[in-house]
Assembly symmetry: C2
Homo-oligomer: 313 residues x 2
């Protein structure tokens, strides 16, 4: 079947994106009602703990530890009603929970946001992937305690794979929001924009949520038209990335520009322009004369730009 | 940039999938609060009307009409509180709404489900795409009248692009659920399964929801492992399809099998097996000796199977 897979290089592009290293076995369909209690009863089980949006890391003895045993978790202020089961690795279960913000942490334990974790490479890709899953699920449960159908309070089931409404019987599943992120290209130049909230000088790919009733390719065209006024022809899928802020699936594409005059949406973008390949290469390599740059390597936008630089001109 | 787009054939595969023809301008970000009222005030505006999940079609005078003017809509039992604005086409707005089930319909007006519409080709692809958008949005509003964060009743805004909670201020956006659907292949054979709810003899691709914290490729591997016990290596994106039952984004892939002994999940699948290319071709062409078949042409599963048949062996 060679021709079906000509499109896939030996090293899968999605694997190079941050947060993509999750290898836990989720067993989402086959979980008992008391999945969390059973997992906690296993001595080898470990927990990822979050203080708000940030992951707790223990730096004691020169190590960097991203998970804790149950007794340790209780001493750190475990909020037992937030406990979810992520999955298993080998014979050990991996869980996640929030900790109480009022608990004093030992000096060796720090709370670090997930962007910094991914950029600095403080934990390995497999742990970072599990942490991304945890962050998305914990945020969804925290922000969805009520039934959207009838307004009653819902209850977690299956160790966090769903919530059920005891009043109307509705089942609710964690949300994953598909987002298209695209690098529009025109020969030797590509289109980058910046939002006001970006760090100074950083330019990135355009992006937006897929809406009901459209394909990935049409979402790429609509978003590029809405944000930059540029018409797009061919669209090529590149890779995908779980993005735990709070729970997006980034779908990265290259997009062939068919029009070139920019009319940026000034409510979305502070600036938007065409960049020549050489200038983008300087931005990528941190040697741009005007101090402009691109997102860090862990971001799918960086990988889309890198593929553009590597492609034939 | 030829090498970035070598992957895209001149005819985009997603365009061949049913429900993908939507060409309305949604203008989701730039809508006034009274978007529906303004749209209704334009004489050229038209409405897609739904009786439950089914679209109203008017077959009067030998035509097949999938939309109605406002006065007609009122005579058919328009439920004004369900009105949403889909977008514009040319100078005309396109809206959608439910009608009251108690209203008697004229003899020329029939309610038809969206699968039948797509299979029978009763309306053109552009209208079918708009109808898919309408069905997903109407279902979301109908099933999400309360705030999942605080339990209060929410209110529609921007002609249906979001709901806001007057109690806690939360904004809620229509949901799009990414689903991977994949054809696992091993040289000259491919893996097809059937659910008990399928029509007799029909076999299709495996599929499942993308979960928080995984890439598209890893979702393909997890679902194929969970449902069939087959390990997957390379994964190649083929095309995507909006699937309005109620609001999925189908992400179609080919998947390279690395193991071959089937251990089907019997709660999900009634049967699952390897089919040789010649047998699949007979199923596709409606001449299988045992009466087996595949999904209709409008389904992305059919297009994935077709691409396998067309690929070099």
């Amino acid at each position: 079947m060679s021709s079906l897979f000509d499109r896939s290089p030996p090293t899968e592009p999605s694997r190079a994106n941050g947060f993509s290293g999750n290898r836990l076995h989720r067993l989402s369909e086959a979980r008992p009602q008391d999945a969390v209690a059973r997992a906690l009863a296993q001595p080898a089980s470990r927990l990822h703990l979050f203080l708000g949006d940030r992951l707790l890391l223990d730096f004691a003895n020169g190590a960097t530890r991203a998970f804790f045993g149950e007794a340790e978790a209780r001493s750190l202020g475990l909020c037992a009603d937030t406990l979810i089961l992520l999955g298993t690795t080998g014979n050990a279960a991996r869980l996640a929970a929030q900790v109480d913000e009022a608990t004093a942490l030992p000096a060796s334990v720090k709370a670090i946001d997930l962007r910094s974790l991914a950029i600095q490479g403080l934990i390995d890709g497999e742990a970072l992937g599990a942490v991304a899953q945890a962050r998305s699920l914990l945020a969804w449960h925290a922000n969805h305690p009520f039934c959207a159908r009838c307004g009653a309070r819902t209850e977690m089931r299956g160790g966090g794979v769903r919530r059920v409404c005891p009043s109307c019987g509705a089942e609710h599943f964690p949300r994953v929001d598909p987002v298209v992120i695209m690098l529009a290209v025109d020969g030797d130049r590509c289109l980058l924009g910046r939002q006001a909230r970006f760090q100074p000088g950083m330019y990135s790919c355009l992006a937006g949520f897929v809406e009901p009733g459209e394909t990935i390719e049409d979402a790429v065209r609509r978003e590029t038209r809405e944000e930059a006024g540029i018409e797009i022809g061919r669209v090529a899928y590149h890779s995908s990335q779980p993005w735990p802020f709070p729970s997006s699936l980034m779908i990265g594409c290259h997009a062939e520009a068919l029009s070139f005059a920019l009319t940026p949406d000034e409510t979305e973008l502070e600036d938007c322009r065409w960049f020549a390949r050489d200038e983008v290469r300087a931005m990528m390599e941190g040697r741009h004369e005007g101090g402009l740059g691109v997102p860090p390597r862990m971001a799918i936008a960086n990988r889309l730009i890198d593929a553009f630089l590597e492609a034939e001109g």
